[in-house]
Symmetry: C2
Amino acid sequence: MSPQRSAPARPSSLREHNLALVLREVADGGPVSRARIAAATGLTKATVSSLVETLLEARLLAELGRSGPVAVGRPPSALALAPGGPVGIGVEINVDYVATCTVDLAGAVRHREVVVGDLRALPLSAVLGRAAGAVRRAVAGAAAPVAGVAVGVPGLVETGGRLVRTAPNLGWQDVPLLAELRERADLPADLDLQLDNEANLAALGELWLGGHEDADGGPLADFVHVSGEVGVGAGVVLNGQLLRGRHGFAGELGHAPVAGDDTPCGCGARGCLEQVAGQDAILRAAGLPEPARPWPGGDDGPAVALARAAADGDGRTLGALAKAGEALGRVLAGALNLLDVDTVVLGGAYARLAPWLRPPVQAELETRVTAARWRPVRVLPGRLGADAAVRGAATSVVRGVITAPAGYLGRA
Amino acid sequence: MSPQRSAPARPSSLREHNLALVLREVADGGPVSRARIAAATGLTKATVSSLVETLLEARLLAELGRSGPVAVGRPPSALALAPGGPVGIGVEINVDYVATCTVDLAGAVRHREVVVGDLRALPLSAVLGRAAGAVRRAVAGAAAPVAGVAVGVPGLVETGGRLVRTAPNLGWQDVPLLAELRERADLPADLDLQLDNEANLAALGELWLGGHEDADGGPLADFVHVSGEVGVGAGVVLNGQLLRGRHGFAGELGHAPVAGDDTPCGCGARGCLEQVAGQDAILRAAGLPEPARPWPGGDDGPAVALARAAADGDGRTLGALAKAGEALGRVLAGALNLLDVDTVVLGGAYARLAPWLRPPVQAELETRVTAARWRPVRVLPGRLGADAAVRGAATSVVRGVITAPAGYLGRA
DNA sequence: CTCGCTCCGTTCGGAAGCCGAACGAATAGA
DNA sequence: TCTATTCGTTCGGCTTCCGAACGGAGCGAG
């Protein structure tokens, strides 16, 4: 009846589940004692001890020794994610740069590299070569076991696929990116490689690393992340999980029709959101020249020029931003209604433009989101800026280890 | 890190999981032998035997005896869902009727009752009295243990809530429906009562009972179900699961803005989809009189009048339907893009109007759904008609038993 | 300084579950 | 009647978790 078959549960499945439970408890709550883990998870102290021992041997946890002489009784010995534990490597291949990032189990950035260059001007093999070089350097520089590499691209990627279906802004079509990278960077065959959409990874970055809060003060777990780069991409996070959709194409927002606009769009239709709220469109409407390429990841790109003009009070720019915000708000309202989400995170280039985009977006949401009467809608600027996608990618690798430590144990 | 805490896994969790696995295998594949279950699930024959014995004792499974002397070797003894097993009761409280429905484990309808009457004309307590009477009769008439009762209403219901937040067409506001029903129908305190949105239940009905097929020929597990009743409600099914959203309000589609329309809407905004594609709106645009209330569940209501006029070639009606279909298609395109879904099911009143709505909807989807180049979009008429919600409700109860038999064992 | 209190982590027996292999059961065909 | 074949059960062994008891480590009172 359910389409997804599930596997039989053996005694070892128990252990896998509980290993993840313990590990997640440490990851969530910082240094904790065994006794606290037992209390929090509902497992017995005995069981926790056994699980912890396994995790210590796997070098995923480390014993900190005693922390502070704060209480009566035998002092606990705190456990934390192992500093020498596995790291994840994130890679972002974008129009103007290739970025890599190495993070440890705790999500802290260990290393970061950005190679700037207009990749559209290069042939595919040259781009692959650059990316492979960056990956090789990241792997070689990691002074710890590498749990995996996650690659983000601005394009459509099929779920679990190893193939970039299409990346219009790179001019890619059906590129077997992971296989190419594995070969060119000479990566071992058992190294875990993943591929995902850049907008999805950015949303995950804000989820895990943004430190955003729920309306109730808890960690934000339901939101729509919109990033305005060349197009308009969205990542939908529901209940702490990314919505990928059946084929992994979920989050397409850029080609929603916007009333009162007839600009033809590359997709064939007219009046797409991208033609009003895309970065290039705003730039055009503001009458600003396109900044010289390449710019490194939005930090120095059109968003900055726009923000500067807006801060100077340039009328055309302010008008363009207001119009973009309104269109964005209308389309987002539809998404929020459909998904029952009450928070929007303005990421990517939009984060920098948030001071001007936020008011019109918020206003549109307030009038158009049906459930706004019960729980107010919120518009938050992203906190990771242009790093969201790479850091999200790298973190997704270590999150994979934390939520399924058995898989890592098996390989390592 | 994940916001949702999970419970520790004990040895008994193993059994719960595997009981569900076996039960689902039987529910999916019809009568099966123990050996086949073992092969399909990956469990051992020994384990399957043990699990099956538990399920037999719980009266969830029944032994059919030998089926046919078809093969060599010891003949298998087929297992099927127990005919005398627990049943689920579904209730739908709508504007013009109260319906109940009793289904057995296999999803077959055992009993059905519709009480017609314009409930808007009645005070709340009278409506509750009618519903309670219907529930009491259904429970009394069930010649089998009742696993639970699921109630659907046309309004907003918080996830896991026992409260109807608002049901505009019934004039309800914060009605503690489940508590009222339990008291008025004198239901035992341990009987499982659930509450859900009618549109959600209808989507589940089409999922489980509609017999729709995927583009690949498998069972359809990803679609958006739109039902045009008084408003426009949607149920989103992703990977065989209903998308409820954080508060259970997901699927709101009726108030998406439609270009080129300025009709004021009850929600405060202008140009909402409901004002173009809602049943009443189509009726108005077609210039047809509103049929006399009450009508029983759309089967005799405005949809029939519209279908008749359209079949007769009435120009205004055809125009209204075309316009409604176009608007619906535009809004649905946005949803399909956002969710990465390629199938729309036209349910409720739309099912009857599918011959006229389908072409414009399909056309809009084909031009506006970005991924339509890779996998064609499909528009299917719903197959359960006005029964979808009640049958979905009743089936959701028995599905609950099948996917978590341990819970039922514990109570029974 | 020592004893008792409190809390932490470990040890050990017992129970629940699953697996693998061997065994009895039931039927068709030689 | 015997053999081949498939089905379902039985039994010993393994993994895992639980509960209770135990030893350990620090603090404070006397």
